[in-house]
Symmetry: D2
Subunit: 353 residues, 4 copies
Amino acid sequence: MSARHGFDWDCILASKKRVRACVIGATGYTGIELVGLLSSHQNVELVFATSETYAGQSLSDVAAGAPEIPLIASETASYRDVDIAFLCLPHAAAAPTAVHALESGCRVIDLSADFRLRDPYQYACWYGVEHPAPNRLAEAVYGLTEDVRRRLPETNLVANPGCYATSVLLALRPLLQTDIRIAGPVVVDAKSGVSGAGRAPKVGSLFAEVAENFSPYNIGRKHRHLPEMEQQMASWRSPAPRLIFSPHLLPVKRGILSTLYVPLEQAPPMDELHSRFRESYEGEPFVRVLPLGKLPSLAHVVGSNRCVIGLEQADSTLIVVSALDNLLKGAAGQAVQNMNAMYGWPETTGLPA
Amino acid sequence: MSARHGFDWDCILASKKRVRACVIGATGYTGIELVGLLSSHQNVELVFATSETYAGQSLSDVAAGAPEIPLIASETASYRDVDIAFLCLPHAAAAPTAVHALESGCRVIDLSADFRLRDPYQYACWYGVEHPAPNRLAEAVYGLTEDVRRRLPETNLVANPGCYATSVLLALRPLLQTDIRIAGPVVVDAKSGVSGAGRAPKVGSLFAEVAENFSPYNIGRKHRHLPEMEQQMASWRSPAPRLIFSPHLLPVKRGILSTLYVPLEQAPPMDELHSRFRESYEGEPFVRVLPLGKLPSLAHVVGSNRCVIGLEQADSTLIVVSALDNLLKGAAGQAVQNMNAMYGWPETTGLPA
Amino acid sequence: MSARHGFDWDCILASKKRVRACVIGATGYTGIELVGLLSSHQNVELVFATSETYAGQSLSDVAAGAPEIPLIASETASYRDVDIAFLCLPHAAAAPTAVHALESGCRVIDLSADFRLRDPYQYACWYGVEHPAPNRLAEAVYGLTEDVRRRLPETNLVANPGCYATSVLLALRPLLQTDIRIAGPVVVDAKSGVSGAGRAPKVGSLFAEVAENFSPYNIGRKHRHLPEMEQQMASWRSPAPRLIFSPHLLPVKRGILSTLYVPLEQAPPMDELHSRFRESYEGEPFVRVLPLGKLPSLAHVVGSNRCVIGLEQADSTLIVVSALDNLLKGAAGQAVQNMNAMYGWPETTGLPA
Amino acid sequence: MSARHGFDWDCILASKKRVRACVIGATGYTGIELVGLLSSHQNVELVFATSETYAGQSLSDVAAGAPEIPLIASETASYRDVDIAFLCLPHAAAAPTAVHALESGCRVIDLSADFRLRDPYQYACWYGVEHPAPNRLAEAVYGLTEDVRRRLPETNLVANPGCYATSVLLALRPLLQTDIRIAGPVVVDAKSGVSGAGRAPKVGSLFAEVAENFSPYNIGRKHRHLPEMEQQMASWRSPAPRLIFSPHLLPVKRGILSTLYVPLEQAPPMDELHSRFRESYEGEPFVRVLPLGKLPSLAHVVGSNRCVIGLEQADSTLIVVSALDNLLKGAAGQAVQNMNAMYGWPETTGLPA
């Protein structure tokens, strides 16, 4: 972690102008992670964290090992006391809260899906409810940090990307931003740990159901992360290839590994493809392209904010394997990375390498 | 399983005298296990299974890999159509159902705690509710099969022992039924898989909470299985030693392993103690005492109806390790074993060795 | 298991014509599973089991919960004392043993790869060693039971299919045996439990490496099960589509789930495709095609000899999900099913449904 | 982490006089953890790390997610280039290396058992080999940091305590350092994650053996951590109570939870006992005593250098539950804490709270 070493003026100066932050919905897995990151972030003062269910308790009582942060009810949250609000709320609940916070002069990073799709009609189709704040969609920035960092300093509303979406988009970006021709739909076979299903208790997330099990769900073209992926892909190339996206539930706590099958026309040699990926992410602190012959696993990424990518070829199909920690680079970590970019701090501040 | 295939006289003869059974509350872990055992039991016809939540569906839709048994609402259950009812209901709900079934001429094996304690006052203390049918307590038999099998043929109401209780009582019985002097309280450090916490969704049973974790709970003298253990111990020796009973939650789906520390006065040599355990369980189909030098693990018992016991000594303390599958010998398996004994069939019928 | 208890004519009659079997290499995961199945199979007498490492011990000492079967050194194995030998040996070691057993008048089911590929040159390419018995290849039958059962009664040498291969081939067979046109390579994204890597200790199979992890390996066209899959596919349709086959290591003990992406030309409606799968496996005791809208998981198959298949569609791509227990239908279970067919017994004899 | 926040002169000054460290035996679980801690420690320059098996590779190739540190063979290690050497070697191999390093003017923290027992005869009894450097035993300090920190600045040879021993000793210290009378042997029922068994491949540590399993081993008075615990206890009270120590293998990667049963004479009220524990560890950065009514779990400690302690009572027996991460406070973390104390840095430097 860069800020820990050497003579660190950055650190010293920053301590004088700490940004005041809050976490709305702190007792889900993303919220807990975010509180952990923010409470040890050198430039941030975590002013409050909210919970409907556990207001009045300490987060450490609700989640073993979490920081001792008091939880307040969201009604008592005053957005005038903070500079930035992180929203870890269910979709449709996040948007009204975001509007309220924005109107109180607060910047917002929304970790729900509410501001990811630009088209409110598409939102209604996928989420089964009318968009609560369609007139705010235009100002939202889809926060795939590597793609959008230059816009972040002027942004007040960031739609933090979905966990699956981040893993897939970082894998496709080097291909779609070049002239490599893609011959058909891209198959994405994705696998996620159980924390991705949230902390609300349901039978399908019980230990005795998940351990020693592995299950596909919403495969094909049914998962809600599909439209945000295709929307972002279209910003890179039009028309972009269609996705076939098949998520599976892994018996692990955290981590996503996506295996992408990209049919290429006139595939360039592998070392050339590999070079393009390397160049595309040169200097990126949190995206690592492995040498040819090596593939990522969850062990490469769990506990870090990194996305690690490996390449393989089969006939004219390029296989891209992309791994990240769904709670870090896939959610809370990328949110902090976005905040760092919004305030002009080094993006790595407060994030595990 | 052999009896299902080919020209099977055994099966044919049995079908003439098949006992008609039902499972009340079939969609918890114990209920699912019981339906599995009963639906392949050669002497049993499983007439119906009930579920409040999932009535109208098939059990196989509710639990992947379970038999395709239709689930009916409990209101539509007719106890006149069955010979025996297995109750997998929460405590306090089981007793009234048991009374209703008994009055319909049905035998009952109750897997809840409702008929385990003979003293309704003690029941009220531990379960926080008045006993729903105190006048039925006298006729209930505490179904630790190895101890009580001779009474089972004439019994119509069996209180199936708790999972922890079975593991502890089988470990202590050879000691308490002899003249070996015990010098103080017996420490029982017990560890159970998560299915013991039931299938009702709660945060503490989620995969992301339990995996890579291990937690003590209700340690000391606070767990509800304590009074049924001490009651049964008192039937073997009076006064019996006090128990200190500390359960812990293991990150496994099923299995209980209890480590008991028994302080002895004038400890006999280990081989003599070992012989007493061996003799005590000689001929038992489902209790196995390992040779000295070997200890049981969950792998010895998961998937079988066995309780496996090993012995070790430290100074004058005898250590007894006792392992069983909480859903089999600790619940559904022992229930079937009890039914077998009630009808005079070989106790092993329909049970995995 | 019912046939073991009581007055069992079935058992008694069977014992007169019991087939004498042995397991060569009984202490790997497949061998342990096979000993378990054979020692409770009503038509089989398990005469001996071998182990190089553990000769002289009981299998129950080597694997907790396994049957108490004495292990002998393979040098002392007499193939004249048995009717059928199951070989659970590494490739290249199995073939010479098979020849020896065949020459002693014994039938052989080989669970290694040695007799799966018809072309010894291809064997040498993939396994890095010259085939030890190329002149025996012609008589070997590739034992995908559902495909080849009519040839099994006259067969003395069965090459039991690989675990991945079984899961993939059962998923593709209904498509390849009809006139449905396939538009390009078939992507197979496969995931296997760790027992598939064998019981020989290596760092990559340690609990602390595998738990909370998930890793791709040998993806693309590099895994040794690829040629046996394409060989079998070519027997159904020529030319068959190419495979892209990407295995991944799952943090579970057992089970394989393969997700296949089949690009179709002029895709028929899903219900028609579904009907073809249903018809193709009608009456099969161990292949189950789920209703449309349902998908298999490992929980559907672990502990059973079943392969469970589900279908989904995305644009013109058919997605087939196929799950089985790698140690049962993927190895020991299919071996017993093959033996049952070789002797004309019901295929389900001695196998968990 | 304290050093990250505020105006940190300590950090600034330290960067000028970095201590040069090496890790001998870097590819076991303790070594990997230690390299991770040292390579991000602000006051340390990790000069080299050794491995017999993997010399020439990078640690990141050997362990996914580990830092990219080149591994050298131990023969090429020059102890003159470093100020402090951390030894992660098997017992009996560590002592000669320690002597060599000490003679080169290097301080040594030995994570093996070689310098833990003061009596070379006892070492020979428990480790089955003569002590390789008995004349160095007198200068070694048993590095239970909380107990011995004042001696560390002048120490050149630290024997880092065993993982089990740390969890047990921190649980007993507040009792043994006061006048509370203990009535008999203390039962310690301990449970450890698999990383405690090391990274050398063996069948018993394979995922398919450990997952869904739980096993006692070396219970009673047979485990090698017993003598170092009783030796340290005797330094606090003489005679100290005997221990009965029963370790069990948990299906988790890391973490130890020990449940101690301490029989008390004339037990003081629980709140008084609790106060003594609180006072005993007041101000300790890495020992936390939970409020009465709360118990630690592995989730409280995995990933942190903390030991978390909870208390419960049953009759006159005090139950102490003590949890820590076996690779951090139980090994590499405590080693770094010891180094921090040796150099007079804040003990928390570079350690996860």
